[in-house]
């Protein structure tokens, strides 16, 4: 399974820069929009790094120029099945097979939509065609996820996930853990594309992408600041920088001083880490707030 990001996260950035930022985030690809194809074809940075090309109609999916460019980029074209209009999946399959390209029919999170895609794919029986699933954890019925994944086994090649990135702290993201576990257990072999839940959030996403590009100094700075505090709201720190920040703040305490940490998750991992890395009896750990959205803990350096 691979993890990618949608062009919608940074619609203004030049494609090479977007690809570079995505790579610096450890991501495996970018899903582009049809309008990007001219620029993408010229961008070396994009080669082998395009997770998909989002088009909005059957006519656009059937445009020969689009199909050829997609084949050259090694990326599937993704079109909403309900937007195919009069386009015949069989004819599209023949075109994509001839050009050595791949077309994914996108469904939402209802069994009816998934069943329509499965029927279309079964009808054409073409290796050039596959399924894609667009899921919005904030509004979709995630209890259907295992059934949807089962219905599209062997066909599903891309999941477009609304949220992720800087939106993981939102209430809307609740339940994503179970969804990701269901995807993992299904053996899904394709790519998950994280995308902003609304166009208005692109600014946050671009900042998030850029944040990692200078994570080196940001982290050191954050640690330096944390050393002078006895209250630390770890929710404002990126997950990957959290434990080093907490440990830096703890180690800067004088005996008898207490550090209060506020979390957006259960702080057990902090307790077990201190227990494993600090001398026995050297700290005292007291839980404060206990979820479900905010947790806190006081850790006192005893000696």
């Amino acid at each position: 399974m691979r993890l990618a990001i949608s062009r919608r996260a940074a619609p203004q950035l030049p494609i090479p820069e977007l690809c570079e930022l995505a790579r610096s985030r450890g991501l495996d690809g970018v899903e582009l929009l049809a309008a990007d194809l001219d620029a993408a074809a010229a961008a070396d940075a994009a080669a082998g790094f395009i997770a998909g090309i989002e088009v909005d109609s059957g006519a656009a999916a059937g445009a020969e120029a689009t199909v050829r460019r997609a084949a050259a980029l090694g990326a599937p074209v993704v079109v909403r099945h309900a937007a195919l209009g009069g386009a015949d999946p069989g004819a599209l399959a023949r075109l994509y097979e001839r050009e050595g390209a791949e077309l994914l029919l996108l469904h939402g999170s209802t069994l009816d939509e998934a069943a329509a895609v499965v029927t279309a794919l079964t009808g054409t029986a073409s290796p050039a065609l596959g399924a894609a699933w667009e899921v919005r954890p904030g509004t979709d019925d995630l209890s259907l996820a295992p059934a949807l994944l089962l219905a599209t086994t062997g066909m599903l090649r891309l999941i477009r996930l609304h949220g992720g990135g800087p939106e993981l702290g939102d209430d809307q993201a609740a339940g994503t853990g179970g969804l990701v576990a269901a995807i993992a257990v299904s053996g899904f072999p394709g790519v998950i594309v994280q995308t902003p839940s609304a166009a208005t959030r692109a600014g946050e996403w671009q900042q998030w992408l850029r944040g990692s590009a200078r994570a080196g100094c940001g982290t050191a700075h954050e640690k330096q600041l944390a050393k002078r505090r006895t209250e630390l709201d770890i929710r404002t720190v990126e997950p990957k920088d959290r434990m080093p920040t907490i440990l830096g703040a703890y180690q800067a305490l004088s005996p008898g001083q207490t550090l209060r940490v506020t979390f957006d998750h259960d702080p057990s991992c902090m307790y077990y880490t201190l227990q494993a890395t600090e001398a026995e009896g050297s700290f005292r750990f007291e839980r404060g707030l206990d979820g479900p959205t905010v947790w806190s803990a006081d850790v006192t350096r005893v000696r």
């Binding site: 993201a173 853990g177 993992a184 053996g187």
Partner: protein, 78 residues
């Protein structure tokens, strides 16, 4: 569980409050001898301490990739 390809659980897209519960639920659902690959954007060493404290002797832990941007750990059930 899948037949031959190991399960890959990418917690980079799991909200902070759900990360460890999701990982432990996935682990607890494994059969003896099965494993999954945990994917994360940082070294999950605090998770390992939590495993050691709560599931001592029941798990194996093998780094398949150690950064700098992506970490992959094979976590198996004894």
């Amino acid at each position: 569980m899948s037949d031959n390809k190991p399960i890959e659980l990418d917690v980079r897209i799991v909200p902070p409050a759900e990360k460890h519960p999701t990982i432990f639920r996935t682990f607890d659902a494994l059969g003896s001898g099965e494993q999954f690959i945990l994917v994360n954007d940082h070294d999950p060493f605090p998770l390992r301490y939590q495993f050691e404290a709560t599931r001592a002797g029941q798990f194996s832990w093998e780094y398949l990739e150690s950064g700098p941007r992506v970490w992959r750990v094979a976590i198996g059930k004894s």
